[in-house]
Structures are given as structure tokens and as C-alpha cells.
Amino acid sequence: MRGISMNEKIQLGWRYLVLALGSLLMIYPILWLAGSSVKANDAMTSMQLFPETWRWANFSDGWQAIPGFTFGHFFFNSFFIAGVSVIGTVLSSAIVAFGFARIVFPLRSFWFAILMLTLMLPTQVTLVPQYILFQSFDWIGTSLPIIVPHFLAVSPFFVFLLIQFIRGIPRDLDESAKIDGCSMVGIAFRIVLPLCVPALVTTALFCFIWTWDDFLAQMLYLTDTAKYTVPLALRLFLDNSSAVTWGAMYAMALLSIVPCFLLFAFAQRYFVEGIATTGIK
């Protein structure tokens, strides 16, 4: 008996060791970024992860590195686009998911199959015609081509996530509300959707992070530096960086991932549950 437990202890020890080394490898690039953001230029190539004297001026240098605008401006643009997109996606996806999960209507399974198919559709197929469409609306150079689609539940992933969640809510609740004379809108907004808050939070979090990082759409549609978001400004900075401005560039790169990092740190549970629900079935 003793031998077995000793054996198991050793095994567990190995497991921890592998996991700890693995985690270190995983977060090393991020630690490296954090270290480089406070390094002076002459310390940039040193072996040490963090320098002996921290150069905070990198942050103020980076903040003003792009002529005419501060990074505050780009952060505002990013927050605005991501924030409005989150509102649009949560609202529209919730309504559509309720329709699919709770109402029986003609051709429902047909439309559901289409929804699942669009989950696999490569974005490249609609990229060019969508650009032409938005150009005909005269929307190029504005954030409308990025924001408006979010109000039309354009991410099948979120609709599917919410459908899966609503299916898990007992139907008795709707039935008794119906008997009490509650309308369909009432059932949706007063009974079912309030119970979906965890899934709605997951939707909001993923939508925020994906919109924040969605480089291609932002690059295509936001052509004017005044409209630039953080990723676009960062790339401009990256491509125009010489050895002199590396520290400042890394400082801004670090700041650009802080919002996503904070969201994840405080709401880890919602991310993990979101992936698990849609992944399983």
C-alpha cells in the first residue's frame, strides 16, 4: 500500500514539474514584453528579463509617438467600436437565439442548418463584395462597416452559444408564463433571457476581445489616422520603429493587451464555460 502511494506521489510531482515548466514557457513571451516595456535602449539586448532600472518614460514616449494623436485617442476609438459592437451582438444574438430555441416556426430546422453552415464559411468569400457594398453606402473610412453587422447577429458562434444555453432552461417556466397571459416578448425578455445572464456575459466578453483584435476589418475600413484603433496604431508604430523607439513601442504593445488581460483575469470562468458549451455538441 505504502509503495503505491509513494509511486503516486512521485508521479504527481512529475506532473507538477511538467505543468510548471510548461506554464513558464507559455507566459514567457508576455513576461518578456512586460520586461522590455521598461527597458532602456542599451538594455534591450541584455539577458535579464527585467532591467535593473525601470525606464517608465517608455510609456510617455510611446503615448505620444504617433504625430498628431496620443494613444489615448486610439484607445478611445477601440473602446468605442468594441463597446458598441458588444451591445449590438448581445442584443441581436439573444433575440435570434430565443427565436430558434423556443418558437416553433415553419422552416426552422432549415434556417438552423444554414446558421450552422455559416459557422464554417470562410470570411474571404464575402470580403470583396461586402467591401463593395459598404463602399456603395459611402461607409469606407467610418466605423459603420464594423459596427452595423454586429446588430444583425452576424456571428453564428454567439447565436449558437445562446441557443445551447436556452435549451438547458426548463420549458415549464415559459408554459406557465404563457398560461398567465404573458406575451412572447414578455416570455423572452422577462423570463428566459434574464436566466441567460452567464451566457450573455460570455458573449459580451468574447465579442469584446475579438472586435478589439480584429485587425483585417479595421485595416480595410478605417483608412484615416484619426479613426485608427489601437492595433492599427500599433502596427504603424511597429513598422516605423527603429532601435531608438523599441522600448516605447513595447510599452504601447503591453498596454494594448491590458484590457483583454484584465477581462480574462476577472471573468475566466465565463470564457472557459463558453468554449465548453459550444464545443461539446
Binding site: V18, L19, V96, L115, P122, T123, V128
Partner: protein, 306 residues
């Protein structure tokens, strides 16, 4: 598909309420339906049409039939290069990513202490891996005096200019993709949790060793998750764009010119929109064919209960 929902309805109620439900149903899904028609179906039809024309953004489209397709498949050497790069990328990054995801999920499983902290650390790169900030890090980590070369130099390897050398540039992007194995890992973890504990107990009572249990029981029971991850990761990897655009810009000498990047250049650098549309349809057909192929082979290796 329509027929399948009929029996349910007839048992439900009178025709009148069905009509009412139908009205409500379409009202509720209308945002998605409008989006589908305006932003997916209509653009797709238009894309078919454009792919059959010669169209530069400022002029009107000029019908050339299958000319674009002919040129792409017969004459376009860059297209062949983009295909090669993309297939290499997918072939290496997807299996390695899934292998890491499964390995770490197995290590994390059986809720050892600190499991949620480890899970968070392993998942974090998936969440921020697509950002420009990460691309900036990658350029340096794989640079001449970057960390990778330093670690290799301990083993006597001469520094390699990973990013600027055609033979190694793509491997930095593959590494970036593998680094983001977190979401596949979370799906595997959820799958492992669904395997009943008594199955493990029964197996070990029967005297099966750990390796045997893994290959004869755990792995077969996980195959539905493996299929799901395999399909989603393959589809996503075929469309990889941002990393190639920011880290290597497709170079050096087109060695990292992935398909989506080539398509982007045709459409928005050269404004050859008809040609780009044809490229997009070839990509769609490729992805569809691969998905069908994966599903078809899955009957042989995916284990479904019942």
C-alpha cells in the same frame, strides 16, 4: 428537414397558434435573417458573378467567363506558392496544436490543486495571440539576438535569422499557432470530464495499465472532440491572415505568403477584385472538400456512443 418538425407541431395545438408562432418566430430571427441575406447570401452571389469578370474597383465589371479560374489554375505561380505555404502551415500547425492541447488537458485533468490557475495560463495565449502586440514580440523572440537563439546557443547551435530566412520564416508562424492551443485544450478538458469515473475504475480493476487505458479507452471516447477540434482548427488555419501580415508580411520571397494574404493583396493592393473573388471561391471549395473528407473518414475512427 421541414418534415421532421411537423409531427411536433400537429401534437402541439391548433393551426391558429401555429401561424401566430410562425409570425413570432420570424420576427425574432429577423435580425439574423436580414444579416444573412444582406451580408452573406447576396455577397456570395455577387462574388460568384465577380469571379467571372475582370473587375478593378473603379471600372465596371467586364465579363470574361471562366478566365480568372483558368489563369489561376494554369498560369499563376504565386497561387501555387500560396497553396504550398498554406498546406504546409495547416499540416504542421493543426496536428501539433491538437497534440499539445490533448497532452496538457490530460495533465490538468483529475482536478489537481491549482488546476484552474494552470488552465488560465495555458489558455491566455489563445485569447491575445491574434493581436498586433504578439506579432511585435514574435519578431524579437525569433530575431537574431532573440531568446530562441540564446537558448539554442547553450546547445551549440549557431544563431539563425528565423524571420528573415525563407527556409525558417514559416516555422515561426507555425510556432505562433501552436502556442495558442488553449481553446482546443478547454474543449478536451470538457470531454474528459464527461467520461464516467467507473469506466476508469473498471478498467484498472481488470488490470489495464495507464498507457493501455489511454489508448484503448480515453482516446476512443475523445474522438468526437478530436474531430470537432480538427475541423474547426483546419478551417481557421486555412484563413490565417493577421500573423502572416504583421510578423513576416508574406516574405521573405513569398515564403510565408498564405492564401488569405495573397487574396488580400490581389483585392486591396492591386484592386483586382474579380481575380480575388475567384481565389475566394477556390478557397471555399477547398475548405468544403476537406471538411467533407474529414467527415467521411470520421466514420472509421470516430467512436460514437450507442
Amino acid at each position: 428537414m421541414f418534415a421532421a418538425s411537423k409531427p411536433k407541431r400537429s401534437s402541439r395545438a391548433l393551426n391558429l397558434s401555429t401561424i401566430k408562432d410562425g409570425y413570432w418566430g420570424y420576427l425574432f430571427i429577423s435580425p439574423w435573417l436580414i444579416g444573412l441575406l444582406a451580408l452573406t447570401l447576396w455577397p456570395m452571389l455577387q462574388s460568384i458573378y465577380l469571379s467571372l469578370t475582370n473587375y478593378h474597383l473603379l471600372e465596371s465589371p467586364h465579363w470574361i467567363g471562366l478566365g480568372n479560374y483558368q489563369e489561376i489554375l494554369m498560369e499563376d505561380k504565386t497561387f501555387i506558392q500560396a497553396l504550398k505555404v498554406t498546406f504546409t502551415y495547416v499540416l504542421f500547425s493543426v496536428p501539433l496544436k491538437l497534440a499539445f492541447a490533448l497532452l496538457v488537458a490530460m495533465l490538468l485533468f483529475q482536478s489537481i490543486r491549482g488546476m484552474s490557475m494552470f488552465r488560465a495560463i495555458f489558455y491566455l495565449p489563445s485569447l491575445i495571440g491574434g493581436s498586433v502586440a504578439i506579432a511585435a514580440i514574435w519578431r524579437n523572440l525569433f530575431g537574431l539576438d532573440g531568446a530562441i537563439n540564446r537558448v539554442l546557443s547553450w546547445f551549440g547551435v549557431i544563431p539563425v535569422d528565423w524571420i528573415n530566412q525563407p527556409s525558417t520564416a514559416l516555422s515561426t508562424l507555425i510556432a505562433l499557432s501552436i502556442w495558442q492551443f488553449g481553446s482546443a485544450m478547454v474543449i478536451f478538458l470538457a470531454g474528459l470530464k464527461q467520461i464516467p469515473r467507473d469506466l476508469y475504475e473498471a478498467a484498472s480493476v481488470d488490470g489495464a495499465g495507464k498507457v493501455r487505458i489511454f489508448f484503448k479507452m480515453t482516446l476512443p471516447l475523445l474522438t468526437p472532440m478530436i474531430l470537432f477540434n480538427l475541423i474547426m482548427q483546419t478551417i481557421n488555419s486555412f484563413q490565417m491572415f493577421t500573423q502572416a501580415f504583421v510578423v513576416t508580411k508574406g516574405g521573405p520571397i513569398d515564403s510565408t505568403l498564405v492564401y488569405a494574404l495573397y487574396l488580400y493583396e490581389k483585392a486591396f493592393v492591386f484592386f483586382d477584385m474579380g481575380y480575388a473573388s475567384a481565389l475566394a471561391w477556390i478557397l471555399l471549395l477547398l475548405i468544403a472538400a476537406l471538411t467533407v473528407l474529414l467527415f467521411a473518414t470520421s466514420r472509421r475512427w470516430v467512436h460514437y456512443e450507442n
